[in-house]
Symmetry: D2
Subunit: 334 residues, 4 copies
Amino acid sequence: MRDITVGILGVGRIGKLHADNLVRLPGVRLEAVADPYLEPEKWEARGIEWAREPERLIGNDDIEAVLICSPTPTHADLIEAAARAGKHIFCEKPIALDPERVRSTLEVVAETGIKLQIGFNRRFDPTFARLRQAVVEGEIGEVHLIKIVARDPEPPPIDYVASSGGMFLDMTIHDFDMVRFLSGAEVEEVQAFGAVLVDPAIGEAGDVDTAVVVLKLTGGALASIENSRRAVFGYDQRIEVFGSKGGIEAFNETPRQIRLRTTNGVRSENPHYFFLERYHQAYVTELEEFFSCIRDDRDPAVGGRDGLIPLLIGMAATTSMRENRPVRVERPEA
Amino acid sequence: MRDITVGILGVGRIGKLHADNLVRLPGVRLEAVADPYLEPEKWEARGIEWAREPERLIGNDDIEAVLICSPTPTHADLIEAAARAGKHIFCEKPIALDPERVRSTLEVVAETGIKLQIGFNRRFDPTFARLRQAVVEGEIGEVHLIKIVARDPEPPPIDYVASSGGMFLDMTIHDFDMVRFLSGAEVEEVQAFGAVLVDPAIGEAGDVDTAVVVLKLTGGALASIENSRRAVFGYDQRIEVFGSKGGIEAFNETPRQIRLRTTNGVRSENPHYFFLERYHQAYVTELEEFFSCIRDDRDPAVGGRDGLIPLLIGMAATTSMRENRPVRVERPEA
Amino acid sequence: MRDITVGILGVGRIGKLHADNLVRLPGVRLEAVADPYLEPEKWEARGIEWAREPERLIGNDDIEAVLICSPTPTHADLIEAAARAGKHIFCEKPIALDPERVRSTLEVVAETGIKLQIGFNRRFDPTFARLRQAVVEGEIGEVHLIKIVARDPEPPPIDYVASSGGMFLDMTIHDFDMVRFLSGAEVEEVQAFGAVLVDPAIGEAGDVDTAVVVLKLTGGALASIENSRRAVFGYDQRIEVFGSKGGIEAFNETPRQIRLRTTNGVRSENPHYFFLERYHQAYVTELEEFFSCIRDDRDPAVGGRDGLIPLLIGMAATTSMRENRPVRVERPEA
Amino acid sequence: MRDITVGILGVGRIGKLHADNLVRLPGVRLEAVADPYLEPEKWEARGIEWAREPERLIGNDDIEAVLICSPTPTHADLIEAAARAGKHIFCEKPIALDPERVRSTLEVVAETGIKLQIGFNRRFDPTFARLRQAVVEGEIGEVHLIKIVARDPEPPPIDYVASSGGMFLDMTIHDFDMVRFLSGAEVEEVQAFGAVLVDPAIGEAGDVDTAVVVLKLTGGALASIENSRRAVFGYDQRIEVFGSKGGIEAFNETPRQIRLRTTNGVRSENPHYFFLERYHQAYVTELEEFFSCIRDDRDPAVGGRDGLIPLLIGMAATTSMRENRPVRVERPEA
């Protein structure tokens, strides 16, 4: 098996994580990284080429695939450049916050014929994948209701909130993808409800920190998503899919498996602190899937269209909350 | 302690249940029952007076308190008659399906000064009462989100569906009461989503069998309710209250406490089959509360106004679903 | 169905419990109670005859069955007297602390042909009965290992300890019965280990408060029992049966079904405080079984021999611990 | 921070695992491996030196520390050779099956002053470490009882059984170490019970496949260990430590966190299949501890004496089972 040579564009927190995970993957070699703020000596010590300009990496003919982990505003340009250079692309979500920009980028990708996978990593979480399997294999019959609870342990910095596109595009977007993934259906209409209960500064920045979103799916099923920017007990990620023959529930994973019994009751552990710990395995598996698609010449399970649709749902949710009315989701083909 | 003498109007399933529970309560004596279809010999054997006409029981001066367990359309008339006869009243919900009728009945009750308790039994479930305690004692801080899952094991007969007032007045009404009980807040606005996924006959009868309802509460918290008329695995009654300092969750009770480990995984038991088993203790405790209110001359925790408000919420939910828009809840005083 | 008329000999805590439970059983009527210390007015108010002398109750020809709930030293004499009077007998364990006395009592019972059921109530606990069912139906294959954890919430008074016959005859005797019940096998050999870790006064009274007992069963399976006189978190009653095709575990029942999540972890409830709460249902079901045996003329599932054998095991355990060696269990027929 | 250069002696299953784990550890470099059966090209591709003879690796002055992962009969010789070459040593358990050989090896180690850590990896499992923490911090008070359930998913090959030294030295030895680790006490006396219930061939090879072992600890606490060579539902590794202020329980870890509810009950997952999956993290953490001891010049938490003592306990257990009597454990200093 020939090694796939890989470059990473952007080696901040998530780019570094992918770089470390690549080491463990057989048949893959990290060749180069590019980031204006990188520390050259760390990469040299690992025998990895480095550059400050992404163009240099994209222009490197030895590199077959790139991981785009740079800030969101750079994603669309880098996808287009890398696609035109004939490289397969794994890109962190979102492609862009403007659907028109996403559409034009996807057209470039379509012309070049390269593989594009979007980093909706949660689809590759073993627990959530098991939920999807239950649906596919009919273990719970026809899907009637999906319920997602997704709560962060603490809000992001207010600066980040202000430029994030709002909670529905920043946080709930993962849940929109999950609803599509689990149901195999599309979202037709959305009604969103938001509140500022965690921190008034979030409200002043024009966002909400607590939300309930209800989705009507093709085929008639309903989904509800409950979000909070702060669960003091840790990263709360639970899902239930309920159907005509039963239901399947994903509960939180804990660092350790203990029960402490005292006069105060039975105490067990809180969930992992946040997404890096919780989705540790999903980050590895999504890359395995990406490289496997390149090797087997098949389309990634989470392609460009899967990057566009949650954005359209998120925009509908934002409108719904502002105007306090149900909003139909724009079709991706529009 | 002097015994409180009690009569029961209507001894169908729920009336019989109360009759059996009364036996175990100290300081209470079941004196008489009235029901057009009762079997006299069964009650005679227990030394209990019987009549076919409710008027005879209401006219019995030896009776201090009545439990109204007859069909819904008779509730308002019987409450008024019993109140005018000076008897304290425990009445199964709902008082009536028409808010105006409820209001006029409550006026009669107010004039007579008798105690009126409405049979929202779930408030007296030890598990749900523990959730309320967590809110009251500040264990979870300020309430941000309430989530109720309430699923029946199987739909009622289609005849019943057609005359029930619809799922929101028949089934969700308990959950509306629970949201008020747990939050200590009132519902300002409701948005309901319904679907017919369990049985097309329910749709033909003009009702839905699957629903998600979102409630905006005074103070800003949000609540969501998820209902299904059929959970094949049993009566599914789960609640979570989430707040600024944590969350508290009520999970299902099982008949036995076992785990069976085989090559097929770890199997534990499904919940109790239905409400009689699940709320067994709540049915006892609500009567204890009623008799205790009589003895201590205090107002029942679930009075007439608590019978009216969930009806107004349910009507708003019905309108919301039909018109696909958020609907504000009418004020009880209106 | 003709009513079975019942008398209770001894109406202390456990006798009163049975009296209350009898009320709910169809086809049974509590006729009379006898106890030197009873309060006549309480029984008169319930329309029940009373006496201070057991002989009067035993001599009452209207009574068909007696429940013997008096102190242990009286059991054997009362069984013999009641058996000779032709009454069916339910007797709390143990029959006596001296195996010879038990044997002679059982001979009297055998001669008279009356039904005798011993109050090993735990066999009738729905959870433990489910474990037995798993064994009988082959769900876990051949039994290899049984593990019982049985811990009291607090030690009995030291006076009681001193006259109890020791922990193995007083507390572990229930677990010996459970091993026989669950396995369907007999105990061949026992090795007991004890320690005084809870309260030195228990050691001074000649007993232990902490113990591990290992049993070799006919057929080759092994069982272990772990006892403590004080689990500060409540009455801890857990069992696991492990076999060639899997295992089944009974875990503790809690008063309420909640999880509280805060920064301190996830807190759930401790088990019921003690045996009256924990085995509430078992006390009802064992009486149902007793009356059903009388009606259907069949032998009780827990007869006299089942009263004798755990005593023999307990004596072997006591010897084993004292002499620090494995001890074979005497055969009941000896 | 200077890199520690490491060599691995024996790169079968466990040696390869350590080699892979080393990659992720900062400040450590795998320099060379030695194994008569290794595949040179695989190691060359990773830039790692290789040899067929251990002597060549031990003679390599660039190597500071070695991991001994070769077959058990070679351990003692390799420890002595490596110690004399001044290398720090991490050695898989056991050092040898003969206590005299272990003692002489430890003398060599003592003379050279190098660090020796024995591969009792379970001490580094985060869940079991949490149990130890509860004991150390007094969360459960004084330890009264320890209960270990350790069951393999399937028996090893019969050849292996025949040369393993018996179940107590091969399998239970980990549990003996765990009892010492959790209690902080030593084992004074042991009584072992064994049976052949899983596979008669194991009995023919002179071993047992099902066992219960009871241990008396210094200070008076009791411990029991339950072993089976075959739990059809997977690798069953549960521990409970019970004390004067409560108890703490380690339960099984599952690959995914789900509950599937159908008419057949609520199904969750079986534990990980076997030790490589279950103790994945422990294998990493034990190496971190080893290298940290080298860097900070402190004694490993699991040193040579900790390698000897479980062997002495295992031998006492073997004698106890054969002679059906309690056996005192030989002191390591003897």
